[in-house]
């Protein structure tokens, strides 16, 4: 298996091959023998040269995280042979950006109108949960192409609230 893994913004080439007593792992050309076991869903026990790690996987509405001990790492995993995954990641950088609801809640009000220009970090929508109001901000400078959130409506994590281009 060959993967392109991006950890903390840095790309790595990862090759994994079944070997006697574990896996042969080549990370950026460097070879390591590892023993890996999934004792339960989303938990990985990894033995590297006698050192033991317990890694937890967390998939949120928007990101994939690996927790090594108490340290969290944002990770992107791509199959380099798949054109689609590359196009998707390129599209995220350059084109329109979706603003997603980070948690379940209720839309309280809209702070901008469609087609208005916004700065990066400017509030777009206010979502309320557990009696607290949270401003959902624009990830980039641009124009609000579309607003899908309606005041009063319930939203789930990952729901598209607006699109900024």
């Amino acid at each position: 298996m060959i993967y392109e893994v991006i950890v903390g913004g840095k790309p790595h080439r990862l090759e994994l091959e079944k070997a006697a007593g574990g896996w042969e792992c080549r990370l950026d050309g460097l070879s390591i023998h590892i023993d890996a076991l999934v004792p339960r869903r989303d938990v990985l026990s990894l033995l590297v040269d006698g050192r033991a790690y317990e890694i937890k996987r967390e998939q949120t509405a928007t990101d994939l995280h690996m927790w090594v001990g108490s340290s969290r790492f944002a990770v992107e995993l791509h199959d380099p042979r798949s054109l689609r995954s590359r196009q998707k990641s390129a599209g995220d950088e350059m084109g329109p950006r979706k603003i997603l609801a980070p948690m379940p809640g209720r839309v309280v009000r809209l702070l901008v109108a469609e087609n208005s220009a916004v700065e990066a970090g400017q509030g777009i929508v206010v979502v309320e949960a557990m009696k607290m109001q949270n401003e959902i901000k624009s990830p980039k400078k641009g124009v609000v192409k579309k607003i899908l959130a309606t005041p009063g409506a319930a939203v789930n994590p990952g729901d598209v609230l607006a699109i900024v281009e």
Binding site: V7, D42, F73, R106, N134, A153
Partner: protein, 510 residues
């Protein structure tokens, strides 16, 4: 003894009370709102009844519905937990009228302590030390200016019906007073439906220390030691411990005796807590009395070896306190962390949602009072408290080390929690030295991102990044069917109808 008790609450405290009842051989009745059908307290109780929609005002705050369930189920007593109806004198009276025992003080004691100005008046009569200021609501800005001049700036304006920092203003100069009073009064009116605001001298950098008391219905009142509650974020307690690092046996005895005096002046029965502000010279002043079981009661249970919920139930059943003041012994040290569903990376904004993975700590000196489980969808409608992690040790240092170990084991995925906040507090030098006041945590958080300030060595981070990269690949190979909750999936078919209802209701309400 009661045969059956209704628990008028939800979350971890409802589970904790159900456990006490089971230990005592008492049957339990849970109540739940539409979004709490799958909540842990419903699963753990002997009987459970629906009491309406998600909004607390339509369910957990509805006295009529709860008393109706009590009647239908044949419950002899109601435990209110904390929050919701726990400090509502009208509810305590309604229980009495319905012939159901309210596990707590009498409506009369609750009324006296429910208004901060009324409590101050009573304590003045009883000779209890309290912060200089007025014991009645201010009638004019001029009166406020006059009192402030007399006690000296800075002064604190407080809502008589207040709590949680609402209707509270710190005033440094005469110029600020008038507008601060107006905004405090209007905030008090909005939050509590009562605009009464009084004034007291502001204690600079105080500590917030409270004393647990217990009184039976035969005239016996005891104190059970203090809890240090100065670690607060925006006036909300986050971490509590017992004993306090600054309280010695003599001060403890003096605080305890004042607390008992307060309780007796209010004819208090059952469990209660007397809160004090402590200044830098260790003078302590009466602040208010909480007429309920506190969130942080476990630290007292661990250091005294007593079970406060058992005792609450026994007292309510008419039993005498089974021990005297001289039998109470404080041993060891306990610290509690309040695990909240909130996002440390986003200004501690609440983070409800589905818990996709839950790994829990255990082992020596660790107690966990929790209302959550893996697969549960934390509703967005209530307080974000998920669980309490309490560490106990021979001394403070061991309690801290055990908690650090347990927090390392604790893992919650799917929602955000404040677990990392406690890792930060517990390794902070000032906290470890016991040097803090109520402003400590807000100052610590203002220092900025812990990842930047802690400055883990670059090489160490790189090594962990390598492990993260390998792990991502190994997961893809060995555990490819990620249980990712896709958009709109809120945890199985059972929760779908309630979502529909909720949506319909919120639209109907507009």
């Amino acid at each position: 003894m009661f045969k059956k008790i209704l628990i008028a609450n939800r979350g971890e405290i409802a589970v904790r009370i159900i456990r006490a009842c089971r230990e005592l051989g008492i049957a339990t009745v849970a109540v739940y709102s539409d979004v709490d059908r799958a909540a842990l307290h419903v699963r753990k109780s002997d009987e459970a009844y629906s009491i309406g929609p998600a909004a607390a005002a339509e369910s957990y705050l509805r006295m009529d519905k709860i008393l109706d369930v009590a009647k239908r189920s044949g419950s002899e007593a109601i435990h209110p937990g904390y929050g919701f109806l726990s400090e509502n004198a009208k509810f305590a009276q309604a229980c009495a009228d319905a012939g159901v025992k309210f596990i707590g003080p009498t409506p009369h004691s609750m009324e006296m302590m429910g208004s901060k100005t009324r409590a101050r008046q009573e304590m003045e009569k009883a000779g209890v030390p309290f912060v200089p200021g007025t014991s009645r609501g201010l009638t004019s800005p001029e009166e406020g200016e006059e009192v402030a001049e007399r006690v000296g700036y800075p002064v604190m304006l407080k809502a008589a019906a207040g709590g949680g920092g609402k209707g509270m203003r710190l005033v440094h100069t005469r110029q600020e007073l008038r507008s601060a009073l107006e905004s405090a009064q209007s905030e008090a009116q909005r939050s509590f439906g009562d605009s009464e605001v009084y004034i007291e001298k502001a204690i600079v950098n105080p500590r917030h220390i409270e004393m647990q008391v217990l009184a039976d219905e035969h005239g016996h009142t005891v104190w059970l030691g203090e809890r240090e509650c100065s670690i607060q974020r925006r006036h909300q307690k986050v971490l509590e411990e017992s004993p306090s690092a600054i309280v010695d046996p003599d001060m403890r005895r003096r605080m305890g005796e004042v607390a008992v005096k307060v309780a007796k002046a209010a004819n208090y029965t059952n469990a209660g807590t007397v809160e004090f502000l402590v200044d830098q010279q260790k003078n302590f002043y009466f602040l208010e009395m909480n007429t309920r079981l506190q969130v942080e009661h476990p630290v007292t249970e661990l250091t005294t070896g007593l079970d406060l919920v058992h005792l609450q139930i026994r007292i309510a059943a008419g039993e005498k306190l089974p021990f005297a003041q001289c039998d109470v012994e404080i041993r060891g040290h306990a610290i509690e962390c309040r695990i909240y569903a909130e996002d440390p990376d986003n200004n501690y904004f609440p983070s409800p949602g589905k818990i996709t993975l839950l790994l829990v700590p255990s082992g020596p000196g660790i107690r966990r009072d929790s209302g959550m489980y893996e697969g549960w969808n934390v509703p967005m409608d209530y307080d974000p408290l998920l669980a309490k992690l309490i560490g106990y040790g021979t001394d403070r240092q061991q309690a801290i080390m055990r908690l650090q170990r347990a927090l390392y084991e604790y893992f919650v995925a799917g929602i955000k929690t404040n677990i990392s906040l406690f890792q930060r507090i517990l390794c902070d030098a000032d906290f470890q030295a016991g040097k803090f006041d109520t402003g400590y945590l807000d100052r610590l958080l203002a220092e900025g991102d812990p990842a930047v300030t802690s400055g883990a060595p670059e090489r160490e981070i790189e090594a962990l990044e390598t492990i993260a990269a390998i792990a991502a690949g190994m997961f893809a190979v060995l555990d490819p069917a990620s249980p990712v909750s896709k958009n709109g999936d809120t945890g199985g078919p059972a929760s779908v109808p309630s979502n529909w209802k909720q949506k319909g209701r919120s639209e109907a309400l507009r």
